[in-house]
């Protein structure tokens, strides 16, 4: 059986060794071990060996101030809050020593002292509670739960929602994407218009009468694409020359052959 009462120590004074001057030195050496001025005040208050409700605040103030004095004498680095507390306590001491002035704007000394007493009591109480709590039975230390819990086994079955349309779409998209991926834009063989104009100007002079456009075409029996390009360029060149007034064009019917003939005057002029 656990016995929390053993740890329970509401007054905190039975177990606490009294502090005399020598202990105060000890206190100072351990200053790093304290968690702030309130912690030190509580330790000092305990040294009065009375119930916290009964402690003498004036005595506590003296204890603290002498503690700070000694610490400074030993040139210990004191955090600012220790000094702030010292200043406040010095102020409190002056209030406690002065006769009470009811009309004064100053805070009530008794109330300030009560406030400090309460803070010390509260800190002491929560420390005792913490000790009791931590010494009570704890899971994984004093009691245990099922070591090998049997968890719920979940038998999951999955259903997949998919339509034929989605499969088709996926395949179509894939095909399209791969198609784009494989495009290889080869440079198509081109018979340039410049070349065509040059050829036409050269040949058309030798033709006296109306001559079909076909007869001016270069021949590329091995290369259909180049042949097509040449046809297009020769036609364009014909139009260009007609625009420049160098040749006349005739087409007797829709889709019929195009005939061209050099303009006489220009020809003469050109030659």
């Amino acid at each position: 059986m656990n016995d929390p009462d053993k740890q329970h120590n509401d007054n905190g004074d039975q177990n606490t060794a009294p502090y005399d001057k020598g202990e105060a030195d000890n206190l100072i050496l351990n200053i790093d071990g304290f968690e702030g001025p309130l912690d030190i005040l509580l330790t000092l208050a305990r040294s009065q060996k009375v119930d916290l409700k009964q402690i003498s605040i004036l005595q506590l103030v003296e204890q603290y101030l002498s503690f700070i004095k000694q610490a400074r004498h030993l040139r210990l680095e004191l955090a600012a809050d220790y000094l702030v507390m010292a200043a406040w306590l010095a102020f409190l001491k002056s209030l406690l020593l002065l006769p009470e002035d009811n009309n004064s704007e100053e805070p009530n000394a008794e109330e300030l002292a009560a406030r400090l007493t309460f803070q010390l009591q509260r800190l002491e109480a929560i420390r005792n509670a913490a000790a009791t709590l931590m010494s009570s039975d704890q899971l994984g230390r004093d009691f245990f739960v099922r070591g090998a819990p049997e968890t719920t086994k979940i038998n999951k079955t999955f259903t997949y929602e998919l339509s034929l349309y989605e499969i088709m779409k996926a395949y179509a998209d894939h095909s399209a994407r791969m198609a784009v991926g494989e495009v290889n834009l080869e440079r198509r063989p081109v018979y340039t218009i410049e070349k065509a104009i040059e050829r036409l100007e050269r040949l058309v002079g030798s033709a006296i009468d109306w001559t079909a456009l076909e007869s001016f075409l270069p021949h590329f029996p091995e290369d259909q694409a180049l042949q097509k390009s040449a046809r297009a360029s020769i036609f364009s060149a014909t139009l260009e020359l007609a625009k420049q007034g160098k040749v006349n064009l005739v087409q007797k019917q829709t889709f019929g052959p195009v005939f061209l003939k050099i303009k006489k005057g220009d020809h003469n002029g050109a030659v």
């Binding site: 329970h8 309130l38 009560a114 509670a129 009570s136 994984g140 968890t151």
Partner: protein
């Protein structure tokens, strides 16, 4: 011992789990109209003197080893569970004063809170944020979790050791309220400053 089928089901469900199960969750496995509470009480009694006990923690049910066998099973707490003095003190303040703000914890301890302290406590899963207080600055308040109750074998925050005494002594009150009581002792101490704990239930 002849057990009813319902009791066998409850026993199996709670025994299988390493976490406490609520009466409602357990009831879902029994036919409607079953008096689950009564069955659980009966089951609890049948385990009362065994090596494993049925206990009511955090308002839920679980099996755990009997406390008197702790000597046999006691283990060192894992490293991660070993909390610093400051963390333990902070945990106690949060437990007894919840919902409590960081500033209030600092006020009670008289020192500003170390950066990591709250993190460590949140990490243990014992402390959780409880929401913001409707005061200027809307500070976050903290309290304890179900895991905290389970860890210390408490059915509710009201079962915290020494809580009644602390409350009666006014040590859980706000300083100003406490001072008011010191100056004008009131008849009805219970009335005033209801425990914030109530928010948890």
């Amino acid at each position: 011992m002849v057990q009813s089928e319902n009791m066998r089901i409850l026993e199996a469900l709670i025994f299988a789990s390493d976490k406490p199960l609520s009466t409602v969750a357990l009831g879902e496995h029994l036919s409607e109209g079953t008096d689950v509470e009564a069955l659980l009480e009966e089951l609890r009694q049948s385990y009362e003197h065994r090596g494993v006990n049925l206990v009511n923690v955090a308002g839920k049910w679980m099996f755990q080893t009997a406390p008197d066998l702790a000597f046999l099973l006691r283990k060192e707490l894992e490293e991660e569970r070993r909390l610093s003095k400051a963390a333990i003190e902070t945990l106690a303040i949060i437990a007894y004063h919840q919902p409590v703000t960081r500033a209030e914890v600092e006020d009670i301890r008289g020192v500003s809170m170390n950066k990591g302290t709250l993190d460590v406590l949140l990490e243990t899963g014992w402390v959780r944020p409880l929401g913001r207080r409707r005061t200027p600055g809307r500070p976050m308040t903290y309290g304890t979790s179900e895991a905290f109750l389970v860890n210390f074998g408490l059915n509710s925050i009201k079962d915290l050791p020494g809580l009644k005494e602390l409350k009666a002594a006014g040590l859980l009150d706000n300083v100003n309220v406490a001072l008011l009581n010191l100056v004008n002792p009131q008849e009805d101490i219970e009335e005033q400053g209801e425990l914030p704990v109530e928010n948890l239930s």
